[in-house]
């Protein structure tokens, strides 16, 4: 009987959790006139016009493409640089290792607002403003330290005897790392990629500051609509719903490993 109450409580909470998202979905399936004209708990006259507009208007759909491009570049950079570094932190003692590790962590906690102006200047100097790589690099500020942190946790869970045996067997470091070690921590790599994707996908402030038109992320396209007069709620809701889709897909792929990443407490 106790179990049933728990399940009911959980279902109730999940209901509350989904309610605001449902409400946005409801809005996205109605025209703006319909939304402002009548209050309704569900769409009586379903229309996909809002979604159609986003998929056919380049100023809308290019926002999604831009976001996905810089998030992918960022995840790739974060993973490739963090993998060797995490291995070093998990296996070796070297000059200043503790200090460097802590310094990396502090960047995970740096207020994005602090870095806005200097980033703008720095990337202007290199002519990188309004490129995907600029946003990808800026997001490395918090994602690279995060990736090192999570990966180090997973790598420290692999016994060192494996490394020793491989070196005795004549493996070179790169060959050992790629053919033996990486497969052992593939869950960790998946979890890390998930978190890099997540934090780069949800960030707006830097992405908006460093882009104007060519690489403008979807989040910035949406804020432009918010400040315009005579706002189209239906369109805004549809754009919002579409920003949830990539995240939901990614969660589905890592759902079994996610709990382990959280268990290490390295988010």
């Amino acid at each position: 009987m106790k179990i049933r109450y728990r399940t009911l409580g959980l279902l109730f909470y999940f209901g509350l959790l989904m309610l605001p998202i449902y409400w946005m979905l409801n809005m996205s399936l109605r025209t703006n006139a319909d939304i402002l004209g009548a209050f309704s708990l569900y769409p009586t006259d379903i229309t996909f016009g809002n979604y159609l507009k986003i998929f056919t208007d380049k100023s809308w759909y290019s926002g999604y493409i831009n976001s996905i491009i810089y998030v992918s570049i960022n995840t790739a950079i974060s993973l490739t640089t963090a993998l060797p570094a995490a291995y070093a932190f998990s296996r070796y003692r070297f000059l200043g290792d503790g200090q460097v590790f802590f310094w990396l962590l502090t960047n995970r906690m740096a207020p994005a607002a602090v870095f806005l102006l200097p980033f703008f200047q720095l990337y202007s100097t290199f002519g990188l403003i309004d490129t995907h790589i600029a946003v990808a690099l800026a997001h490395c500020l918090f994602n690279v330290p995060l990736a090192v942190w999570i990966l180090e946790g997973f790598m420290s869970g692999v016994p060192r005897e494996i490394d020793e045996t491989a070196y005795l067997d004549g493996y070179s470091f790169p060959r050992f790392f790629i053919t033996l070690f990486l497969p052992l921590i593939r869950a960790g790599v998946g979890v890390t990629a998930f978190f890099c994707f997540m934090f780069s996908w949800v960030e707006l402030l830097m992405a908006r500051t460093l882009t104007t038109t060519v690489a403008k992320p979807i989040a910035a396209t949406m804020t432009r609509t918010v400040s315009a007069t005579g706002l189209d709620w239906g369109l805004l809701a549809a754009a919002g719903i579409l920003t949830i889709v990539p995240g939901a897909l990614v969660i589905w792929f890592v759902r079994n490993h996610m709990a382990k990443g959280f268990a290490l407490g390295r988010v």
């Binding site: 728990r6 409580g9 959980l10 909470y13 999940f14 959790l17 989904m18 309610l19 605001p20 998202i21 409400w23 946005m24 402002l36 963090a82 060797p84 070093a88 296996r91 070796y92 003692r93 070297f94 460097v100 962590l105 502090t106 960047n107 906690m109 740096a110 207020p111 994005a112 607002a113 602090v114 870095f115 102006l117 720095l122 490395c140 690279v144 330290p145 997540m198 996908w201 949800v202 960030e203 402030l205 500051t209 989040a219 949406m222 804020t223 709620w233 805004l236 919002g240 920003t243 949830i244 995240g247 939901a248 589905w252 759902r255 079994n256 709990a259 959280f262 268990a263 407490g265 988010v267």
Partner: protein, 290 residues
Amino acid sequence: MDKWEDNRAWFLVLPVFVIVAFTAIIPLMTVVNYSVQDIFGPGQRVFVGTEWFKEVLNDPRLHEALWRQFLFSGLVLLIELPLGVGIALMMPKKGWGVSASLVTLALPLLIPWNVIGTIWIIFTRPDIGLLGAAINNLGIAFDHTASPLDAWVTLMLMEVWHWTPLVALLAYAGLRAIPEAYFQAAKIDGASAWAIFRYIQLPKMRGVLTIAVLLRFMDSFLIYAEPFVLTGGGPGNTTTFLSIYLVKIAVGQFDLGPAAAFSLIYFLIVLLFSWLFYQVLQNVGKGEPQ
């Protein structure tokens, strides 16, 4: 576990070092540079020493924003932690329900932060929002754009909605790590559900809960996009948090000197907390009976 001692490991850290130097050290040096100079235009700058720091530290609006920020972060912790632990305790231990619960919980975490604001505007507006209309129908006037209290209530609801799942996920991970033998022993002893929670589950969750406290404190301390979209810092300045105020000075008024001084002070506060975070994290689990 003793590690191999080898300074050549630095070569493995080098790529990370270079990339973080480019994204963190150089910009930070620029901020330091701004904070001690008065810049009129290209090539026209005067060294002003600590003047900007004095100005910023004496700014009453900054003090207000700082207290507001501590109040906000404090409330966030008070509400989200017990709620998150409660949800974790209700979650199933095995079967398909585990995956389903994890995916549902993680969903709000993957929504871009400004979209979170948008969702809650749509949800709480008195004319088109479900919550706003419902409250107004009860006879209570509710409008987060006009009343500071309503703005705070809406912000807290949004924040709790957005981040409690993270606490729940962490707490759940902590609960799953407790060996089944503990519960069997408790059952034999006839322990009540409360006793199991108080003497087994809670102590065993100490590690993850410490992390949850510090993560939630840190991230709520840096909050920007959600209140910016939802309230824009208003009505008045009643929801202007540190990041919002900083961006207002830096980008809105383009006062580089004060903004840079503010940035450094802000960063130092966060640094202090991240150092505490690191120290606590290093000591978690030490001296805990296994």
